[in-house]
């Protein structure tokens, strides 16, 4: 398996690791968002969604472990790529025309990722952990809506989701390019779909704290 190790450590192999894990995370986000949106239908709908997931319990834990591995690979490999690339560039030009020759989304992947990572830690600590490992039968709807009523929590949530949109806008089309699927006919469509996907995911998640903070029950 030495060749495989070398492959995943090559410049192109590292991109592929980002791509494969990225695609899995893109799919995960759709499922997660669909579940979250049941919050709009109230406590009962949301609990039904949560308890439906519980039905596949042993499997759910396995999926969670795999998901965690995907996240870890995406994060660690991403940092490796970023750090290696910084070294490959070395000294930078004093004057840069980067805003003329590339998009801000593509240039800020590490920054958007850092904020999303902080969000992820807070997210797991305040929602996933109390619900799954907390003492007593916690009510997920209560936990979530309670958090959304805290302005600072919600604002950071919204900010992180905006940056998630930035990250996905570049990541989506980037995945196709790295797989080598840049076709004259279809690539512009892929870029458009990626942007729509990024907006929908960011807006979808961010709409929940906005709703609970400003509109729910008023």
């Amino acid at each position: 398996m030495g060749w495989f190790w070398k492959f995943t450590n090559s410049s192109i192999g590292k991109k592929l690791v980002m791509t494969v894990t990225g695609i899995l995370l893109i799919i995960f986000l759709i499922i997660h968002l669909a579940g979250n949106l049941t919050l709009y239908w109230g406590a009962k709908a949301f609990s039904t969604y949560a308890s439906t997931l519980e039905l596949i319990m042993p499997l759910l834990r396995i999926i969670e472990v795999l998901l965690a591995l995907v996240f870890i690979f995406h994060i660690i490999n991403g940092i490796r790529v970023w750090w290696g690339n910084k070294k490959s560039k070395g000294v930078e030009n004093k004057i840069s025309a980067k805003s003329k020759n590339s998009s801000i989304f593509s240039r800020t992947m590490i920054q958007s990722a850092s904020i999303i990572f902080i969000f992820l830690v807070i997210h797991l600590d305040t929602i996933w952990y109390p619900y799954n490992l907390g003492n007593g039968a916690e009510n997920l709807y209560g936990i979530v809506t309670g958090l959304f009523m805290i302005p600072l929590y919600s604002w950071f949530y919204i900010f992180a989701m905006a940056l998630l949109g930035f990250h996905l806008n570049h990541g989506f089309q980037s995945a196709f390019q790295t797989m080598g699927w840049n076709h004259k006919k279809y690539f512009p469509l892929i870029q458009t779909v990626g942007t729509i996907y990024a907006i929908l995911v960011a807006a979808g998640f961010a709409s929940l704290p906005i709703y609970f903070l400003y509109f729910h029950g008023r």
Binding site: S11, A97, K98, N101, S102, H170, Q173
Partner: protein
Amino acid sequence: MSEKKINLKLKIWRQSAPNTVGSFVDYSVSVSPEASFLEMLDELNNNLEKNNQDPIVFESDCREGICGTCGLVINGEPHGPLPKIATCQLHMRNFKDGQTIWVEPFRAKAFPVIKDLAVDRSAFDKVIQAGGYISVNTGGVPDANSIPISKDIASEAFDSAACIGCGACVAACKNGSAMLFVGAKVTQFSLLPQGQPERQSRVEAMVAKMDELGFGSCSNTYACEAECPKGISVKNIAKLNREYRLAKIKSKNVEA
């Protein structure tokens, strides 16, 4: 005949040797708008030499945009502000009277500065030596057109072959990645029948060499395509990614 001249302020990177600290030095020039950027530097160098000062080192050769030797970062852009030209094809009429122009060398770890604006791009030669060729037995010259290649394929391969190896893609890239250059070479050979026998070993060897020399990993910002004087498309990088992946899956080479 009195010709109208434009006055420019230049801030040029001066560095006396590879491992010394460099800095920007200010120069004022009055130059014909019809002069090319390199002619402007020639004039400046003539004046410097007249005053017993060290002339500014920069590279050039054909001065008609086909050799890939010249290459300066002008106001932050490799080969200057106009698309699809080399530095030698940039004329002073594209600058405004009184404008300040920053002139810097290409920047990448794999392209160390030799002196002033000249950088060592021999890393590209090493990547080519690793696999950017076809092996043919010497002997009689084969008949022309003995290998049928359709016009479409020939044109596509030529689009990639238009790369002049200037290195602007590396300089434009925030990651110092050479993938547009390597992608162009790999694509060109992979499209033509002559490139087939070494198709897998070529891409494996060229990518390994590129990594070894310290070029970065593409993160798809596409700055390279925007700055490439020959308009080489990032589809060449997509093709490189695919060729490399398939080579890794299919080739019998377990060492590389």
